[in-house]
């Protein structure tokens, strides 16, 4: 099974996982790494490496990071050359909820691609959708 590590500023990673689990149940082989203003880059690097090692069962690890360009992503990206990981940034709740099923049927690069597209597709302006629907009628 593909392992999952969520990486974020503040308590976002932990809360995102906890919230997703209240909806879809326990998400196996998943860990969170969080950083605050106190944390040094080396410390985050070490925690992330430990988390990747813990959740990797041989099929690789998907790193889900809160935003591109922040420190969690700057550090996460450094694992691309050395570990069997793929990274998706801008993680949201729809992605988290889709993961448990998707990860059982896909390989890592395919999963990363799918989860990115699913996350993007679920950022919506419902008002626009309703207006389009009204125009049709």
């Amino acid at each position: 099974m593909i392992g999952i590590v969520l990486v974020s500023h503040g308590r976002l990673a932990f809360e995102l996982l906890r919230t997703a689990e209240t909806i879809v149940g326990k998400i196996e082989h998943t860990m969170t790494v969080e950083m605050d203003a106190k944390t040094g880059m080396e410390e985050i690097h070490k925690s992330l490496e430990g988390a990747i090692r813990t959740v990797d069962t041989g099929d690789g690890v998907l790193l889900l990071i809160d935003m591109f360009g922040g420190t969690p992503s700057n550090i996460g990206l450094s694992f691309l050359g050395t570990h069997n990981v793929e990274i998706v940034t801008g993680v949201n709740l729809p992605m988290m909820i889709k993961l448990p099923m998707a990860r059982t049927t896909m390989r890592l690069p395919e999963l990363a691609n799918y989860i990115r597209e699913y996350g993007q597709r679920n950022i919506t302006i419902p008002g626009d959708m309703l207006r389009k629907k009204a125009e049709k009628h």
Binding site: A37, K38, G69, G70, N74, S78
Partner: protein, 160 residues
């Protein structure tokens, strides 16, 4: 190229810099003075990717900042100078870069350090470097983003 901000930030280029200090100062160039990054092309390209189009990024060894600045100086624009420690800031000053104000944004926690601000923890070397900089006439201000109140060492105008 005028320097609009000199900042100590152990994370160098990240969200706070790109999303708050760049628009606040109107900078269009980030000059990163860091020996580790100069030696690590992969990490350099990771940090470069985090910067929006239109903002130039240059890297320099700490001791070579004056030379790298003179090389990019032919271009118009405003630069933010980033370094990872207060010791590096002092070295840059002593290498000949005369800045009036220094912003300290992030220095991570480690055992034995003193909390100066929520994101700034000083070891003995930091106190020594900042004291030297104050003595040299630099106004040293501690704050992570331009929107928060500043803690100030010495007497000057602040970090901008």
């Amino acid at each position: 190229m005028p320097i609009v901000l000199v900042r100590v930030d152990c994370r160098l280029i990240h969200g706070q810099v790109v999303e708050t200090w760049v628009p606040h100062t109107g900078a269009d160039c980030l000059l990163v003075a860091n020996d580790d990054l100069v030696a690590n092309p992969f990490l350099r390209s990771v940090m470069e990717m985090a910067v929006p189009d239109g903002i130039r990024v240059a890297f320099s060894p700490v001791k070579d900042v004056p030379r790298v600045m003179s090389e990019i100086d032919r271009n118009e624009g405003k630069a933010i100078l980033l370094c990872a420690s207060s010791g590096d800031a002092l070295e840059i000053y002593r290498a000949g870069v005369r800045f009036a104000n220094l912003n300290i944004g992030n220095i991570h926690y480690a055992s034995g350090k003193v909390e100066i601000a929520p994101s700034v923890f000083f070891a003995r070397e930091d106190f020594e470097a900042v004291e030297c900089l104050c003595h040299l006439g630099v106004s040293v201000t501690v704050r992570a983003t331009p929107f928060e109140p500043a803690t100030r060492f010495g007497n000057g105008e602040g970090d901008g």
